[in-house]
Subunit: 416 residues, 2 copies
């Protein structure tokens, strides 16, 4: 069993040093980290090869295997990802607000690092370098706990990143990997309030639920996306087809892909057959409510069960429901949505306003595909995840979201 | 046992309606709530009288009894507190940011209510109206769970507030009190993720620890203040005396009062006797480290034990330690502080900068008393508490801190 307390204490020490570094020094360290990934490519590929062989022997799914596998190009991509972070503006030190108190003292609100960030994630080894780089740029130490399938890869990647840090005279413990992937160790990590300021789980619904339920450290929930496209009574037919198809099939595995189509009954007869045809042509399996199945009886689609409305397929499957009103669509979304990204297609300003106000989600789209919920698309550069909770931050999390604030008050002996 | 799920569901319904109300309607409701408190003063005082008699019979402490006791003036004060909230700017609807994506779609980031806020608090019945009013102004429903000593008072106060709401055609369930003060019910409340968006504990260290450890709802920790005053090598003697005495004795029971005095060894001989004399004259009991006791041997002060550095006295007691350097002061604060408010008295710009950067707390004071960490003093009007955590918000929490954001993206059929 690894000594988690020692890892925590070392991270805290490193974080104290990181919080005082200039952007120039952090950028130099990031460049050294990127260079070290390239320099140690053969070691990383060798380690990854072992992970892949073990994973194949354990019979993991094809898509997981794809996420796990590194190539020379993918490592170049990881280095490129770090260099993108260098190009972003350092949020630390930003004066967020301030004023002079009537008694003359100056009050400033300043952006500072969070401290130590714990990341618990699954099979993708590229998260290791992405997360470490974003945390570092925002002045935070990171404690990474990846999945067991990628352990050898993660060890090799972390070793490279730490080499880069050490070359720049920055404590290597600014980036640490927990090499014990047991559940017990993860559970212990989730109680390390003394050392870890924030815990960010990245992965499937099961992982996120476990972290939320067990952690005593403040958590930022990320990434579960049960997203809806709602075709309002006044929806433009062409737009309904193109946006729905894009929201579903442009990348079905990601969290901002749509899972459920809701259609106002007034346009279902006219629009739904065209949208359904577009989806089926793109390879999507539809699962419909009773009314949907009647409208599309030529297509012979399956019935949607209660579970379908609750499922993030992450695949070429879409559930379809005809609703009586915009309010019924809003109510369906309130009941089954995950608060990620929701879309209305409408030509009515009143409907757009009502939907935008009533739907409680990180991102509400009017006549735009849900697929845009993304740090780069929202102009914040790289993201560490998409928050579906309301506390701290909501939606894509960039560098600013990896900071907190501190008030600094200065005066000449003011007392109260 | 009360039906917590029903309370949660009713709160969620009310929150949906509140989120769409104009400021004018919320202000009218707040005015009706204030008027109802005055109108129902005799019922509230009668209920409070019963609480006070029961509390006296149970032998609760004098200070708790004082907090529990309401008078006609105190109820006027509660109504006045609600009217102060009316005067504050409604944060809901504020456009926090926004831009146009290269593809033409408009991205807006808008402030919206959190939804349902749970407040768990102890003996002060005035928290009931303060918290309900702040939550309501920011568009949130509140579920209040006060202490058992104040139950009858809280029932009467909540009844008045709900009368005010109902008179304005707003669901009374926007403000609900859990009338079962058992620990089991509190524990169940802390798991109601489905209904409660944020939990804010207000009270002593034991309460806050229990909430942090048990809650699966995101928590905002508030109010534990182990605050330090550090007299640097270049501290002005008069300022050292006046700020230290003010930070300790102007209101010892509150969280921004100082508990520990740290003194640089270079000035301890000259400054400490004067500061100590000022404190003792104001009625403060000192508990010192070895060096302190030697320097102040005429005063015959007690030795500080390890526990003293960890204690929020909330009383006329102060621990005193002589340190070798500014870094030693920073290290002591890192080890024993609660991240609330920390002060340096210094004439050195370098020391001020170093202390401000290195101390990790919500508020760092340079030559100003710690007593200013307060929503009104920081210009945000009334506060619901002072956050000592880093996530979501840090320092005094005003209305803005009771909101989250939502992205609204509108376009003309943009796809990705």
């Amino acid at each position: 069993m690894v000594d988690l307390k020692q890892i925590g204490a070392d991270a805290k020490c490193a974080a104290d040093i990181l919080s005082g570094l200039t952007s120039a020094r952090k950028d130099a360290a990031l460049e050294a980290m990127a260079a070290a990934l390239i320099a140690q490519k053969s070691e990383i590929l060798a380690a990854n090869g072992e992970d892949v062989i073990a994973a194949e022997a354990n019979g993991i799914s094809r898509s997981l295997l794809d996420r796990l596998t590194l190539t020379s190009e993918r490592i170049d991509g990881m280095a490129g990802g770090i260099r993108k972070v260098i190009a972003l503006t350092d949020p630390v030190g930003e004066v967020v607000g301030g004023h002079r108190h009537p008694n003359g003292m100056r009050i400033q609100k300043i952006r500072v690092p969070l401290g130590v960030i714990g990341i618990i994630y699954e099979a993708r080894p590229n998260v290791t370098s992405d997360a470490a780089a974003l945390c570092l740029k925002a002045g935070n130490a990171s404690i990474l706990r990846g999945g067991k399938e990628a352990l050898r890869s993660n060890v090799a990647i972390t070793a490279a990143l730490r080499t880069g840090l050490a070359e720049c005279g920055i404590p290597a413990d600014a980036v640490q990997l927990i090499e014990d992937t047991s559940r017990e160790t993860a559970a212990e990590m989730m109680k390390m309030r003394e050392y870890i300021d924030v815990l960010i789980p990245r992965g499937g619904a099961g992982l996120i639920r476990a972290v939320v339920e067990q952690s005593t450290i403040p958590v930022i929930e990320t990434g579960i996306g049960i997203c809806h496209v709602y075709l309002d009574a006044s929806a433009d037919c062409d737009m309904a087809v193109s946006v729905t198809v894009n929201a579903k099939v442009s990348r079905p595995s990601v969290c901002n892909a749509a899972e459920t189509l809701l259609v106002h009954c007034d346009v279902a007869g006219r629009v739904l057959p065209l949208v359904a045809a577009g989806l089926v042509e793109a390879g999507v399996e539809l699962r419909g409510c009773e009314v949907t199945r009647n409208l599309l009886k030529d297509m012979g689609i399956k019935a949607a069960a209660e579970d379908d409305w609750l499922t993030e397929y992450g695949d070429y499957i879409m559930s379809v429901k005809v609703v009586d009103s915009l309010d019924a669509a809003v109510a369906h979304i309130a009941r089954y949505g995950s608060g990620h990204s929701e879309c209305i297609i409408t030509d009515s300003a009143a409907a757009a306003n009502r939907f935008s106000a009533a739907v409680d989600a990180a991102a509400v789209y009017v006549n735009v595909s849900t697929r845009f919920t993304d740090g780069e698309e929202f102009g914040m550069g790289a993201e560490i995840g998409i928050s579906t909770q309301k506390l701290h931050t909501r939606g894509p999390m960039g560098l600013s979201e990896l900071t907190t604030v501190k008030y600094i008050i200065s005066g000449e002996g003011q007392i109260r």
